[in-house]
Symmetry: C2
Subunit: 327 residues, 2 copies
């Protein structure tokens, strides 16, 4: 198998913890260190040989093959990614869809300047769903793809709420509109506006004395994340959040319906039923960390998306086994 791929984890929240647990499932990898902006002495990480303050990350360039970025898109990524991608091969799950073209350009320049590979937006959406959307549309061009998420907690959306001044904690559920899913499955090819496909349900605990009206307005008007949806905000205590909203299960359906020949219907559907959303996202990032390592070892540099990367690079399987077992 050769040398193990040395993985660094930058940021230790739900996603960072999931990376730590899932790297252990991949025998061709090892965890090198977890980086945190908190005091490392107060961050207990099972299975990590080192917990290091983020300020010291520059000293680790020759001890880490791929750094997995585990901040949230809303604030962390743009600055964090640019700096780190000059120093390390990186993988992130940047998920502010509308900003991805700009993020791609910036990361491409940064990664090239450091001679590194930066795989961006490699979660499940964007990420796995993007891959399937690409194949679906390439295979059945006379067709249309619908994406539904949930019911489940969206980490990116929950994190975006947590960044609002006066918010202590928040959990956001994306809820697909059942009538819309049914119509798509029946092949009715409906025109659906963003707000007809999903609703957003937010449970928020606020700091004492915080202006709840302001918080609710900031959530509902947040561009990209909430402004295009029917959003419900419910204020609850920290205790209720912990007791009733700590499950991180999720799910999603990507449905492509189209026609071939003289009107033969063709339906391709990818469905996900996820016991843990962050563990699933982290698992995808880890597979693409393997690809980033191989691309870099091959002398490549710059930003890459899941759409650019030869699928075989994500797998630990030998090519002979792929020919024998997958084809």
């Amino acid at each position: 198998m050769g040398e193990l791929i040395r993985i660094g984890v930058y940021g230790y929240g739900n996603l960072g913890a999931a990376i730590v647990s899932e790297v252990a499932k991949n025998p061709d990898m090892e965890l090198a260190a977890v980086f945190t902006r908190r005091d490392p002495a107060n961050v207990k990480v099972r299975r990590s040989p080192a917990v290091v303050h983020a300020d010291s990350v520059g000293g680790w360039t020759d001890k880490i093959d791929v750094m997995i970025l585990c901040g949230g898109s809303a604030n962390d990524f743009p600055a964090q990614g640019l700096e780190l991608s000059k120093l390390f091969n990186t993988v992130d799950s940047f998920d502010t869809h509308a900003k991805i073209p700009g993020y791609y350009k910036a990361m491409d320049e940064a990664a090239k300047s450091g001679g590194r590979v930066a795989v961006i937006s490699a979660g499940w959406d964007p990420g796995l769903f993007s891959l399937m959307k690409l194949y679906m549309g390439a295979i059945i061009p006379d067709g249309r793809t619908y994406a539904f998420w949930g019911k489940g907690v969206s980490q990116g959306h929950s994190e975006a709420i947590r960044r609002i001044d006066g918010v202590e904690n928040a959990i956001q559920y994306s809820v697909p509109v059942a009538e819309a899913v049914d119509s798509v499955r029946r092949g009715e090819n409906p025109e659906l506006e963003t707000r007809q496909k999903h609703t957003r349900l937010c449970y928020v605990s606020a700091a004492q004395g915080a202006d709840l009206n302001r918080i609710e307005n900031e959530i509902k008007n947040m561009p990209y994340y909430f402004s295009d949806y029917d959003t419900t905000v419910i204020f609850v205590s920290n205790e209720e959040l912990a007791a009733n909203h700590s499950k991180l299960s999720h799910g999603g359906n990507l449905i492509h319906t189209g026609k071939t020949g003289e009107g033969n219907g063709q339906v391709i559907e990818l469905s996900l039923t996820l016991g843990s959303n962050p563990e699933f996202t982290s698992s995808i990032m880890i597979a693409f960390a393997r690809a980033a390592y191989r691309l870099s070892a091959n002398g490549e540099s710059g930003a890459r998306t899941v759409l650019d990367i030869p699928p075989s690079l994500t797998s630990a399987m030998s090519y002979e086994d792929m020919l024998r077992n997958l084809l």
Copy 2:
């Protein structure tokens, strides 16, 4: 958009006819010619500018960018593919799973000797299912993938029966065993032998005076195709075959179930509901013909599988649109 990709179709059965109809859905491609071993004067092809005898294929090397091979795996491919891949970039849907490693090697040598790209086994299984099996296993390594096909007609299996001496026509249905699918979906992780997952149901019309016992035995003992399955052979007239078994609908489910973290279940499922199996297969081959063209234009040569090819090469979408619309 630049110049159109000129597509040749080698072999004009169900699959060849489907390629002709589906190429027309792709504005970046044009059909150049259909090649047949029959008398071209007797082969009517709507939408093709030329119908040419297969013996003349050597004169078309500078008029065709990608040749799509539309024979059947059982006999046609090994010889046909090797010769054609020296002259043209090719795409095939070779589906004798157990022989793919050998076929890959032979096609790799042939294609390299001619400086061409040969994309092999690019149907839905092998092909799209192979891609998804790869991603599923790379993402959730502590898991297991189950594939179910049908109920539907398998072209490869039907064709294999038709090659038997004394058979006039045949239609083979693959039928998933419902109890097995249910058990997988419930996450029971069952051990299933080949014959516990599917049964095979064959409707066969035989020539007058043919030895039906011999035909039935040849079918049931055919390696790879039938010998590992509970196979039922029913002899019917040509008329009954045409009247009751001419629908080419199909379907399939690829289900990966696994665990992350401390036992969180994760399920990824790809499901296909196909109004026309040959049109769906042809649509995949066409998307990979686009990729073959681009790989070749990029100076590459040799055999490729769907697992090696950057996903973006299969799509006619611009990279800017991919970043904007897929990620």
